[in-house]
Each structure stands twice: as structure tokens, then as C-alpha cells.
């Protein structure tokens, strides 16, 4: 298990400190000198991070399992927080790589972005990515932001697209993670693109499950939920169509710090991207969220079957 790995490492580092007084993990010391001497066949080491929602955690576990099979020394630090938090973490070296989504990252880097198709979003993303970061190949798997209502609300107000909310928004409360309130393609975008002004926004910081529960129980009327969230199907929620493409393409893509890339890592993560699609991602999410399986085990199974 990943936590076991992190903690065993932390512990052995502590023990190493006590034993040789060098403050360094004995295994690490060996690895470093090897890297210096022979280089070539060393698959290197990497710390994989994840955002604080289950799907991203699952993807991070998939990266970790695949890389570990490729002989890379893998460490994980999952559940970090919102994009704002983990980008800082990857830039300061707390983590080396994590699964990202093209549209979200591109908008984060360039709030003025107008691109919405997968290719255009990727092009914009690569243009604005800081020099110390890289994205590898994108996968077909897509997990988009969406606005979701309960089937009762959809029926009662006759809603199919986000635009249909226009005349009702003033009576409805919108719920979502706090960053949705300030992101350009969040509350502001809804107003600019669809002319929606909600009665209020309820900031739900504790994760997607809180948003799902709040929508299901009527504490909010419209919610910002990711499209691969199995709760949408479980609760018979209706995803409102986005004809104006307010929410950009969101292909899953590995984000990595440039100085952490090596050929083994790059090749392995590109293989993972090639194997992923929205369908298998959603069905893995059902295993994790609906059936309560351990994300690490689901990831292991996927890697064993597909890579």
C-alpha cells in the first residue's frame, strides 16, 4: 500500500539517521551513488502526488503501479488539495508528478483561454506551461466539470442545457468547491456565457461527496460535479449540456516537473495514457466509490490487465 511505502520510507529515514548519523536513508545513499556512477539502466525515482478527490487518487495509484513495474523507485503523496495547492507542491519539489486534466490546468495557467477542443486546449496549455513543468501525452479519458441537477428538478423546470437555467437561476442555490466561485470558468463564466445569476453559492470544501450529498438532500439545487463521478448515475442526477463549451476539454494527462523526467518514466506514463479512456475510468470509479474497493488494488488490477 502506498501509505505503507511512504511511512516505511519516513521511518527507515529516521532509523538511518539514528544508525549512521548521516541523516540519509541508507538505501537512498546507495541509489544516488549508483545513479552518479552508472546512470544508463537506472530507472530513477519519483514522488507521485494527487489532488484531493478519489478519481485523481486512483489515477495517481495507476501511475505509481505502472512506474513501479517499470523499475522506478516510487513514492506517493496523495490527497494534497486543490490545484492551487499541488502546483505549488510540484514546483517546490514536494512531489514530482501527478495526474492532471488539460482544461483545468490550461485555464489555471491562462485565465483568458478560449480554446475548448482537446487539441486547442493542449496547445494553449503547452504554450503557457512554466519552463520547469511538462505535460506528457494526453489520454482519451476525460473528466469534465459539469453542472448537475436532480432528475426532479430537471423535470420540474424542464432543463436539458445549462442555458435552460436562465429564468430559474435567481431562485436556485449553486453548490461546488470554493475555487469554483472564483475560477474564470466557474461562477463568473456561468454569468458571462449563459447569463446565469444564482440566488447564492454554497462553498463546499470537504470534497465531491459533500457536494453530491448536498444536491441529493436539497441543500443546493444545482451542483458542480465531475462527469465521471459515479454518484451521478447512482442518484439519477441529470448532467446539463454545455452547448457553449464553457467547460473546456479535460483530458487526463501526466504533469511532471521537467527535472524529474527520464526515458523510462516518460515511456511508462505515455503507455498509461494510451490505455486510459473515459469508459474504463468511469467503471474503475464505480469500483472505488460505489463498491468501496481500495483504489490501490483497482489501480493494480488495471495495470496488470492493460500494460
Amino acid at each position: 500500500m502506498r501509505r505503507t511505502a511512504v511511512i516505511t520510507l519516513a521511518l527507515s529515514a529516521t532509523l538511518g539517521l539514528a544508525a549512521c548519523g548521516g541523516g540519509e536513508d541508507p538505501m537512498d545513499t546507495g541509489g544516488d551513488s549508483d545513479a552518479g556512477a552508472s546512470g544508463g539502466d537506472d530507472a530513477g525515482s519519483i514522488t507521485i502526488g494527487s489532488a484531493n478527490f478519489p478519481e485523481n487518487e486512483l489515477l495517481a495509484e495507476i501511475y505509481a503501479a505502472a512506474l513501479s513495474d517499470a523499475g522506478v523507485d516510487v513514492d506517493t503523496q496523495l490527497n494534497i488539495g486543490s490545484r492551487e495547492a499541488y502546483i505549488a507542491g510540484i514546483q517546490d519539489g514536494s512531489i514530482d508528478a501527478l495526474p492532471e486534466y488539460t482544461g483545468g490546468l490550461a485555464t489555471y495557467l491562462n485565465p483568458e483561454i478560449t480554446a475548448t477542443s482537446s487539441e486547442d486546449v493542449l496547445a494553449d496549455l503547452q504554450e503557457n506551461l512554466p519552463d520547469d513543468l511538462e505535460v506528457l501525452e494526453i489520454s482519451d479519458a476525460e473528466d469534465k466539470d459539469s453542472l448537475v441537477v436532480t432528475s426532479e428538478t430537471a423535470e420540474e423546470l424542464d432543463l436539458t442545457t445549462i442555458g435552460d437555467l436562465e429564468e430559474h437561476a435567481g431562485d436556485l442555490t449553486l453548490g461546488g468547491p470554493p475555487e469554483f466561485e472564483t475560477r474564470p470558468n466557474g461562477v463568473d463564466g456561468l454569468q458571462e456565457v449563459y447569463g446565469l445569476e444564482f440566488a447564492g453559492f454554497r462553498s463546499l470544501a470537504a470534497g465531491a461527496n459533500l457536494t453530491v450529498q448536498s444536491l441529493a438532500n436539497g441543500q443546493v439545487d444545482v451542483a458542480n460535479i465531475f462527469t465521471t463521478n459515479p454518484a451521478i448515475e447512482e442518484n439519477d442526477f441529470v448532467v446539463l449540456e454545455d452547448p457553449e463549451s464553457l467547460f473546456a476539454a479535460q483530458n487526463v494527462v501526466p504533469l511532471i516537473r521537467a527535472d524529474a523526467v527520464n526515458p523510462t518514466i516518460e515511456e511508462t506514463l505515455n503507455e498509461v495514457s494510451a490505455a486510459l479512456n473515459t469508459e474504463n475510468l468511469t467503471s474503475m470509479m464505480v469500483q472505488v466509490q460505489t463498491e468501496g474497493q481500495d483504489p490501490a488494488e483497482v489501480a493494480r488490477e488495471f495495470v496488470d490487465e492493460n500494460l
Binding site: 492551487e84 495547492a85 466561485e181 472564483t182 454554497r202 462553498s203 470544501a205 470537504a206
Partner: protein
């Protein structure tokens, strides 16, 4: 960073309006006071009983210790998962938070109360019995007033903890000063977080001062004189 925080704090727009500091402080105080009152309703009678009879002291000490050990974040999540589907409207978010704060406040109020009663001069108690007071009269007219200083200290330290902890309410979607911490983090506006933290500390300090003033007002002058001698 410091100057940005200062700018945020002195900007009048930060203070007014529906999401402003004034309105969030009121929400924060409302939730805190409700929690303190509920905690006092539970802990003061129990503390008086223990202090007066000397019974159940061991249980109370250990129970208070165990309460202190309960992690607020865990209780908040359990209570939210349990109550969200069963309640409607704002109450579904507020009740879990209030519950967490009550759990937090019970130990200091409880131990303040029974310690206060226990510390009552036995001579005063005997004298009260001597003049023919009933046990209830002794409790209400002698022990409670004499226990007030420690009881109120317990309430004060409970309130300090409540105000600092009430900030986690923001993660389950209700208002209060925690909004600045959570929303500030989410949008990388660290000056908002820092400013929010300062406002929370100031509010805690202000409330503590007010409670210290109250303490001075309601404590019997007889006790103060006795202490000075």
C-alpha cells in the same frame, strides 16, 4: 505578503456586505454562542452535582479527558454524513458544527464548575448548614456564587477554543470567519487567509475581554475582598 494582508484588512469593502468581515463575524459569534450555551446547559448542572456531592468525580475527570481527545475534524465529518440526509436547509450544515463545538467546550466548563464548587470554603458550607439552609439552598446561594470565578474561567477558556475551532465549519459549507481561510486557500489569496486568521484571533481576544469584564461584574464582591485579604 504583510502589506497585502494589511491592505486587505483596511479596505472598507472587506468589512461590509454579505460576505464581509462584520457579517461573517456575526455568524461566527452566533454559532459559537449557541455552542457555548448548549455546553453550559450540559456541563454546569453536572459539574455542580459532582462538586456538591463529591460523587462521580472520577468518572467526570476521565470522561472530560476522553472528550478532549476526540478529534474535532473526525466528529465533524461523521456528524455531517449522518445529519445531512436527515435535516433540511442550513441546519443540516450548522448542527454538525455546533455539535463539534459543544464536545470541545464541555470539558473546560465541567472541570471549571466542579473545581469551583470543591474549592468553596468548608467553613462557609458548614455555616450555611448551621443557619438551617437546605442542600438546594446551599448549592444555589452559597456554592454557586462562590464557584463563579472558576466556573467563568472555564467558560472563557471554552469560548477561546470554540472561536478558533469554529473556523473548520467553513469546510462543510457554512459561513463564519473560516470562509476566509478556506476560500483564501482555494483561490491562492494568502493575504485573505492571513487577514482572516488575524480577525479570528482578534475576535477571540475581544470576546475574552468582554467575558473577563462580565466575570468582574457578576462575581460577588465578598469573594474579591476575601481574596485580597
Amino acid at each position: 505578503m504583510i502589506s497585502l494582508t494589511w491592505q486587505w484588512l483596511v479596505d472598507p469593502a472587506t468589512w461590509t456586505g454579505p460576505g464581509g468581515i462584520i457579517s461573517q463575524s456575526i455568524t461566527h459569534l452566533r454559532i459559537s454562542l449557541v455552542a457555548l450555551l448548549l455546553a453550559a446547559l450540559v456541563a454546569v448542572p453536572v459539574g455542580l452535582f459532582i462538586g456538591h456531592t463529591g460523587r462521580g468525580r472520577w468518572l467526570a475527570i476521565n470522561l472530560a479527558g476522553a472528550f478532549r481527545a476526540i478529534p474535532s475534524l473526525g466528529v465533524l465529518f461523521v456528524a455531517t454524513l449522518l445529519l445531512l440526509p436527515r435535516l433540511s436547509g442550513n441546519l443540516a450544515f450548522e448542527l454538525p458544527v455546533v455539535l463539534v463545538l459543544v464536545l470541545l467546550a464541555v470539558p473546560p466548563v465541567l472541570s471549571g464548575t466542579y473545581a469551583g464548587v470543591e474549592a468553596v470554603d468548608p467553613a462557609a458550607r458548614d455555616a450555611a448548614r448551621g443557619v438551617g439552609m437546605t442542600e438546594a439552598q446551599i448549592l444555589w446561594q452559597v456554592e454557586l456564587p462562590a464557584a463563579l470565578p472558576l466556573l467563568l474561567s472555564g467558560l472563557r477558556s471554552a469560548m477561546l477554543q470554540i472561536i478558533a475551532t469554529a473556523t473548520i465549519a467553513a469546510i462543510v459549507g457554512i459561513g463564519g470567519l473560516g470562509r476566509y481561510l478556506i476560500d483564501g486557500q482555494a483561490s491562492r489569496q494568502y493575504e485573505v487567509m492571513a487577514g482572516g486568521a488575524i480577525v479570528v484571533a482578534l475576535l477571540a481576544l475581544l470576546v475574552d475581554l468582554v467575558m473577563a469584564g462580565l466575570q468582574r461584574l457578576v462575581v460577588s464582591p465578598g469573594l474579591v475582598v476575601a481574596k485580597e485579604h
